[in-house]
Symmetry: C2
Subunit: 456 residues, 2 copies
Amino acid sequence: MSQHIYMNAFTQCCPTPQSEGQWKNPRDRSVPGFNDPDFWIDLARTAERGFFESLFFADVHGTYDIYGGNSDAGLKHGVQVPGNEPTVLFPLLARETKQLGLIATYSTTYFEPFLTAKLFSSLDHFTNGRVGWNVVTSYLSSAQRNGLGELLEHDARYEKAEEYMNVCYKLWERSWDDGAIIRDFKNDALIDIDRVHKISHKGEHYQVEGPHMCTPTAQRTPFLVQAGGSPRGLEFGTKHAEALFTIIQNVNRAAEMTNQVRQYESIAGRDPGTVKIMTGIGVVVAETEQELKQKIDRYKDYASVEGLLALFGGWTGLDLSGFKPEDPMDAFDTEQMQYFSTFFAEMDPTRIWNFGDMCNYMKLAAISPVITGTPDQVADELERWVDEGGVSGFNLIPVDQPGSLADFVDLVVPELQRRGRMKTEYPKQQLTLREMFSYEGNTKLPSTHPAKQIER
Amino acid sequence: MSQHIYMNAFTQCCPTPQSEGQWKNPRDRSVPGFNDPDFWIDLARTAERGFFESLFFADVHGTYDIYGGNSDAGLKHGVQVPGNEPTVLFPLLARETKQLGLIATYSTTYFEPFLTAKLFSSLDHFTNGRVGWNVVTSYLSSAQRNGLGELLEHDARYEKAEEYMNVCYKLWERSWDDGAIIRDFKNDALIDIDRVHKISHKGEHYQVEGPHMCTPTAQRTPFLVQAGGSPRGLEFGTKHAEALFTIIQNVNRAAEMTNQVRQYESIAGRDPGTVKIMTGIGVVVAETEQELKQKIDRYKDYASVEGLLALFGGWTGLDLSGFKPEDPMDAFDTEQMQYFSTFFAEMDPTRIWNFGDMCNYMKLAAISPVITGTPDQVADELERWVDEGGVSGFNLIPVDQPGSLADFVDLVVPELQRRGRMKTEYPKQQLTLREMFSYEGNTKLPSTHPAKQIER
């Protein structure tokens, strides 16, 4: 039997988040759609029409201000700004769909763990277990200047995040036993206080007494996602996450990376294959070669290279405003740039990349690989990533919105369904997001997960 | 013409928040409704059916643990625990209703102003301007032990809150000019960067650079509510708020208090009568005296005095677990208790109150005055509060949910409509919450509001 392909639709409550300039594309409705619930309902329904497992919202709390040493380019091109808080949409989107999972980025740096635990429990209650948390430790220094947390050195951030997770786990998994609401008329007790526990966490970074504010939800701990690509991030992710959102340049690298994740999994003592590896991918699909070419050309015409470089600058800390198109990729002699030099070279090892090539490459879906073709060709290539690269599925990075997703749903999904790679219907009874990414009945974290192993 | 009576429905995402024990009442659906979006949709639709201006959600982030020196009683009786985060419901509730305003308590102690400003702008976008913020500085020490902020001395909290408000005002009112999204194809500019401003706030408590993450909403600054009852709280409230949620014992005291607010308003340089004074009130209404008596008796039978004292303990810091029913009200010789001794005495000055009287009194709607009667009698009394007491309207404290609200809507609202005190229809075109509490066209804060007077 062909391996199921898991699908997540990537988005953010802002203008097209990773394809700056598409606001000029008549097909794009993300401006001013990002302020309008109807736009998000339509996007969620489109993902559900295509039997996607989930819709994922990234989020940032500052402007992109590395490029040119200020936020001018970031603002001018609407680089992930303006942007709204996505979690407040989830109960609405859950009601307007039947099964689609809803995943939000939420930072361990900006929010106290007690409040994060409360928020995600509330979301899980109000969506009946369809919520995921993308755990991030945050990266924009502009957010710090907005009064948000201390921007710790990379590894220290992960140390602190470990403790943060433990606090959340204690609140979600240990604070309320099942059945604590007893409605005991005789003793006038709504709650059995012996089944509600303080967590009394006293750590290096956090002191949290508890109990948790919320009763156990369908999933208790929300479905956990992690998107860090660094070695330390990968270690953190394979320890805690149930799905990794990664960016991998090609199928060969995917095979290496997925092997590595399986090893880390086994080191962390988790069931092999538990962690779903969702790789970021852009897809441009059309029924004919001619339509496809037109679509790609139009996307590239509308792209704002300056905006993309502002985006890239925020991700890497590199100000690329001084570069010329013909500059070789290693002209910026930093570790980060060498990484990206190699990164892009591996996208197409048959040629020498210069800076102009990189800019051109980013026009479709920033640094994600892009598959272009007819439905058949796209499906072939996606299967290759899964069968040879070992990935579990894809994080679809949109170029325009909702066009990219709608194209994929209308053209690629039917082909993947014919090949037995995607569902043709959702389960009759609504499942939790954790079940959607594993199997029916698997609503809670397994005993091998670190959440289950911390001391009381 | 009779003065319009503004109506707000009070609630909290937990078991009946101010009438502990009603979970035993077969009419009450708040347990387990508080975890279910359908319960909240039903409540919001009921308020809208009764042409209420708004639905208000209180919120806490800790247990009530003064009574008996621990949280046993608070937990056992479900005193505002378990509880969910209410703001994530707002876009859903807005979609399932047409005009009802949605107000959330959000604490200046637990959330950074940059994030609070983003959250409320997002909510205002997603509800098309129907959102209000109840500014609180927080009071439960258990929240501090959950890792949430520093519990400052009362006045210092308000000092810090002043700066907090200034940061939010700068983000909401000064950061984005109208029309900053220009979609300038020629210059490849989505945004006119000259119309987006950093706020560069550097104060004693907060450093926030900006710009704000969100574009201006229908209201820019959400409708502002304040619920503090202390002199310092009242000063803060009359300076910043557009509606005050208060608790006043009787009509005479209301007249004094509303006069005082009008004076404070004038000192603060605000337009007289701008601040709507919404006083907390419980209402038990039935068509006949016999039904009424039955309903009151049933409410009192179901009430949990221990739970109410746990609630009272959290509000006042007083552990009343050692009291006996026959103890006089001033047996606890503290300033707080003297205040409440006077407070209760004024509810009914014709008798000497003892501790048992107080417990008995609290059975319906905790410390709020309660009006009981037939629809006609209730309407008479509400009119007296407005005409003689000078209040703008009422914050309806439920006994059971949704029963108390439904009773009011079905029985009292038609009578108030007949008397020209309440709307018989909502405006054809949806208005903002600010307009609902003032007049059509008044979507933004007026120039006399402090938000408009801070320096750039």
